[in-house]
């Protein structure tokens, strides 16, 4: 799966949790979920659970802790897909 496709899929997953549409539109590799999107840690858990469902992967605690921005999340998703 291409990075762009993944980012698009990720954007769709994140949308319900983002208050500010402009921030969401500007989402890129470096976007930090907590700092840039004002997502709290509880919603971040829900995003990770939605990612698990969407990509049919299982994310462990160590991987979850890395998923703080778009780039790192894509890395984790790719790695988990490869491990399947």
């Amino acid at each position: 799966m291409k990075n762009e496709t993944m980012i698009e899929q990720l954007k769709t997953i994140i949308k319900p949790y983002v208050e500010n549409e402009e921030q969401w539109n500007n989402l890129n590799d470096e976007t930090d979920f907590i700092k840039d999107l004002d997502i709290n840690s509880a919603n971040l858990v829900d995003i990770v659970l939605d990612i698990e469902d969407a990509f049919e992967i299982e994310i462990d605690n160590d991987a979850m802790e890395k998923m703080l921005n778009v780039k790192a999340s894509i890395e984790v998703i790719k790695q988990k897909i490869a491990e399947k």
Partner: protein, 142 residues
């Protein structure tokens, strides 16, 4: 862990503790109850000459049993530095609760992952009528 051991670990002062006992404890669900005293401080003003338990207090009671007591139970190994922060509430109120009424709270775990506990919580009165229901979530932080 027993009901008494969990209640002893609650971080609330006397006038803000809304748990009397826990009657069921398991990994999937928790049940407990609380009897609202006639002397609770909020009855004096909510409302003037017409005491009714505020919805926020019913929510607090549901959260103390369904998130905090449940969280302490689920983290049983080590709760010394545990902090539980409520992160979302979505509660409907169906019937009023008056002074001296006992309420029963039943919480079912939806999931507990990455330190987040999310539960479906229902509150019943002594006639077993549902008085409030909804979904609560919190983070268990060490």
């Amino acid at each position: 862990m027993t009901s008494e051991e969990i209640i002893a670990q609650l971080p609330y002062g006397d006038d803000f503790c809304f748990v009397d006992e826990l009657t069921h404890l398991s990994l999937d669900k928790i049940e407990g109850n609380y009897r609202f005293k006639e002397t609770e401080y909020f009855y004096k003003s909510h409302f003037k000459n017409n005491p009714i338990t505020p919805g926020v207090i019913l929510t607090e009671c549901m959260a103390q049993i369904g998130l905090v007591c449940f969280g302490i139970y689920l983290m049983a190994e080590d709760t010394t530095a545990l902090r539980i922060v409520m992160t979302s509430t979505d509660i409907e109120f169906i019937k009023p609760v008056y002074p001296k009424e006992q309420v029963k709270v039943k919480a079912k775990k939806m999931y507990y992952r990455f330190h987040k506990l999310k539960c479906e919580v229902k509150m019943y009165n002594e006639k077993d009528e549902i008085v409030a229901k909804g979904i609560l979530a919190g983070m268990l932080i060490k």
